[in-house]
Symmetry: C2
Subunit: 136 residues, 2 copies
DNA sequence: AAAAAATTACGAAAGTTTTCGTAGGAATAC
DNA sequence: GTATTCCTACGAAAACTTTCGTAATTTTTT
């Protein structure tokens, strides 16, 4: 039987890169590198261009990214879905820091954060939705 | 001015150890090591005693743990609070994988998880609580 | 009292992630 | 057409995390 290639969970730096791509669509290394550096505080040291390049080449190898070659430069895009990756990340965090309880994580996230009225409404609506579908 | 010692965010292995301590109170290395190995699947390799010992010694140095010497063996306890640590961990995850939006994380956690009726109720109650206190 | 078992300390290896320097080539500017 | 800029490739260093072997000491067992 042919084994489907296992794509590893992204590291922290890799997640940062993926976020930029999920938000902005496929982009060049230059764009990503600029975006990462803009997000950084003035205190932190700037990320070198070749650092980002190398990371993205590794991600390509791991199967986290795909790319097209346009003109001289390469354009990268995510090879994994944001939703699935976020779920994967959450699973890890829930296990590592919340004793496996996702609802503890939710309670903590809500309790220690300034969530806007609209967002709270959205969350409540989702809960009602879940209750309707699950416990009818 | 005297700089308060900065305690670093725990690594993944360190979080596993802290969880055992938060749940069971102060304990020996032996207890922690046993607990960690019990939680492991039969597939994973067992963690050696000295591995756990070394980790906890490092955590002591970092200021993540404290200890008392009772008889011949040492008893360790967390030097940081569970709540604060969880908040710290959440902040990182929210930044790394959820574009800084905690409510996105909450929506994702609720959406892709089998949360029990009771837990959903608890969460709803908390939201109502927050709304009352914030937007009165 | 000798052997076996359990404990801490510690250095170092092994593994992983992040960063960067250098080289080579192609486009652009002067 | 030469110099400068911009890009990729790639190896290797640096930094961080995890694992373990060995030694020294103390307690427990035989």
């Amino acid at each position: 039987m042919i084994q489907k290639k296992i794509i590893p969970t992204p590291t922290d730096s890799e997640l940062e890169i993926l976020q930029v791509l999920w938000q902005n669509g496929q982009q060049t290394v230059r764009f990503i590198n600029d975006a990462l550096n803009e997000k950084r505080g003035a205190d932190q040291k700037e990320i070198g261009y070749t650092t980002t390049l190398k990371l993205m080449q590794i991600m390509l190898e791991k199967g986290l990214l795909e790319r097209d070659i346009i003109e001289r430069s390469h354009i990268y895009r995510p090879a994994i879905h944001e939703k699935i990756t976020q779920e994967q990340v959450l699973r890890t965090v829930v296990n590592n820091a919340f004793n496996g309880s996702a609802s503890n994580l939710v309670l903590r996230a809500l309790g220690s954060n300034n969530t806007s009225r609209e967002e709270l409404e959205k969350i409540k609506k989702l809960i009602t939705e879940i209750e309707k579908n699950t416990y009818k």
